[in-house]
Amino acid sequence: MNSLLKLLSENSSYTTSELALILNEPEDYIKAQIREYEDKGIIRGYKAIVNWQELDEDMVSAIIEVKVTPERETGFDRIAEEISNFDEVKTVNLIAGQYDLLLVVSGKTMNDVASFVSKKLSPIDNVLDCQTNFILRNYKEGGVKMVDSIEQKDKRSFVL
């Protein structure tokens, strides 16, 4: 795997000088590479992985499976884009199996999510069926554990 992208996907807050040291490459080369990835749309953005559960703010998420009829010419792409346009929708994937699209949708309350499904998602042309699964607890997100591990932290003894 591309080491630079792997490092940035694990921690996008590395500075270019840190990346240059880690990868044993000149910093200018690292900067140019990153610029190229950004220009080509390989890197689409940088953001923090927030554990919203730790905050008092109201936030509910659901995984929604959607069955759709693919359209002539565009297949699933147009519908997927239309669904992606809603701010409530955080993730959209085309999947194999009983359903076609798998969404992650967030709102302040369960009611918000429910009304998104009934008022915005279901009425879309060619959306046939939705199955809403509310998320109760988020354990891992984007490769990062979202709850404190029950495993022991670094407790290495000072030995030889």
Binding site: D154, R156, F158
Partner: protein, 392 residues
């Protein structure tokens, strides 16, 4: 009671490890970043832990055969053939031990006794000298030099050999320097070793952590060396299994059988749970080794590059997980440097002279820590160096 009269004089006379003192200071402090320990920060891969758990669940709680489980010994021989192209007979040439450390002790005790000399290159891991003394033999210390990339060179080896020389310890990839011995280096010293009929104890515990394009070469694979080499290895470093305490020795049947006899009387058999877990590591752990090695290699680049930026000259390590920067330009001794660094900046590193007098002027910095912690430690070291320069 006067315990000085009660205790064995030969044990009392062995010097305690130089590292201990710093560890005692570090253990008392908060907010310490430790770049001092020789232990992976990774946890044992989950599939390996599961096999340990499973063996307990299945009630496998008895002793194993003295030499170790048959399947484990078979897997060890397959592993050494697969990774290092060395063939051993699992029935007669393998002994499973409590860590590589026990295997080193057994090998020294089986090969060297009163009146024999054991050549120990330094800087090196702290156990060889005391274990040689406790075997009643005489340690002959041989300094390796930074200008030779801390390798053993033929001239230095020749100088140490007498008609009493029995054993050469070959600790590569090396703790603390990160040096390795490449094929041509080994071939050069092999001629001398054969000429003087010396046995080699090749401590290859860091073999998997070799960062050159060529993988680790064992001296046992050099022409004529197989029959005069005891290879020591284990699971601690390459599979992050330090706490399981499991290692092994490979070598000529005549030596391994004597080591097995000793092991049988003092240990009985290595921990059973660890042996079952180790079978899984050998069968399905090659990828774990690569993943951890890649991570160490990135840290190595980062830490060596950072020391260079700070103006501390650093031999680029080719193996293990330590770097060994020279701190002579600071005007401090290794011990002063480390004591002040831990007290003033709460960063723990080990003075180079803990690994032999030739390590004076260097510090051992382990990169068994996250990049984030290493980065923070480097910042603190930078402040420390600035303060020294300004005479604080």
């Amino acid at each position: 009671m006067d315990y000085q009269n009660v205790l064995n004089e030969s044990i009392i006379s062995v010097k305690p490890s130089g590292i201990r003192k710093f560890f005692d200071i570090a253990a008392e402090m908060d907010n310490v970043i430790s770049l001092s320990v020789g232990e992976p920060d990774f946890k044992t891969p989950w599939h390996v832990r599961q096999e340990g758990i499973n063996s307990l669940r299945m009630g496998k709680t008895w002793y194993t055969p003295n030499k170790g489980l048959t399947v484990l010994r078979e897997e060890i021989t397959k592993y050494y053939d697969r990774r290092f192209h060395l063939k051993y007979d699992s029935k007669s040439q393998v002994l499973v031990t409590v860590g590589g450390s026990e295997a080193i002790d057994l090998a020294i005790r089986c090969l060297a006794g009163v009146g024999d000399e054991v050549i120990i290159p330094q800087p090196s891991f702290v156990c060889y000298e005391p274990l040689t003394q406790m075997a009643g033999a005489t340690p002959v210390l041989m300094s390796t030099k930074v200008e030779n990339e801390f390798r053993i060179v033929p001239e230095d080896l020749e100088k140490c050999i007498t008609d009493k020389t029995k054993v050469l310890i070959l600790p590569y990839p090396n703790n603390p320097t990160g040096a390795i011995m490449e094929r041509e280096d080994l071939e050069k010293i092999a001629e001398i070793i054969k000429k003087h009929n010396i046995i080699v104890i090749s401590d290859e515990i860091y073999a998997e952590l070799t960062y050159t394009d060529n993988k680790h070469i064992s001296i046992a694979s050099i022409d004529g060396m197989y029959e005069r080499t005891v290879v020591i290895n284990g699971f601690s470093k390459c599979y992050a299994m330090t706490g399981w305490r499991l290692g092994y020795a490979l070598g000529p049947e005549e030596i391994i059988s004597q080591m097995t006899k000793l092991h049988q009387f003092c240990i009985m058999s290595a921990p059973t749970t660890a042996q079952y877990a180790a079978i899984e590591a050998l069968k399905n752990g090659d990828e774990d080794i690569e993943d951890m090695k890649n991570e160490y290699e990135m840290r190595k680049h980062f830490i060596v590059g950072s020391f260079e930026k700070l103006g501390l000259k650093c031999f680029v390590p080719k193996g293990a997980f330590y770097c060994f920067p020279c701190i002579k330009t600071t005007g401090l001794s290794s011990e002063e440097f480390c004591t002040r660094l831990i007290k003033e900046k709460h960063v723990a590193v080990v003075p180079g002279n803990a690994f032999g007098q030739s390590g004076e002027g260097f510090i051992r910095v382990s990169y068994c820590n996250s990049l984030a912690n290493i980065s923070e430690a480097i910042k603190r070291i930078e402040q420390f160096l600035t303060e020294i320069k300004n005479g604080n």
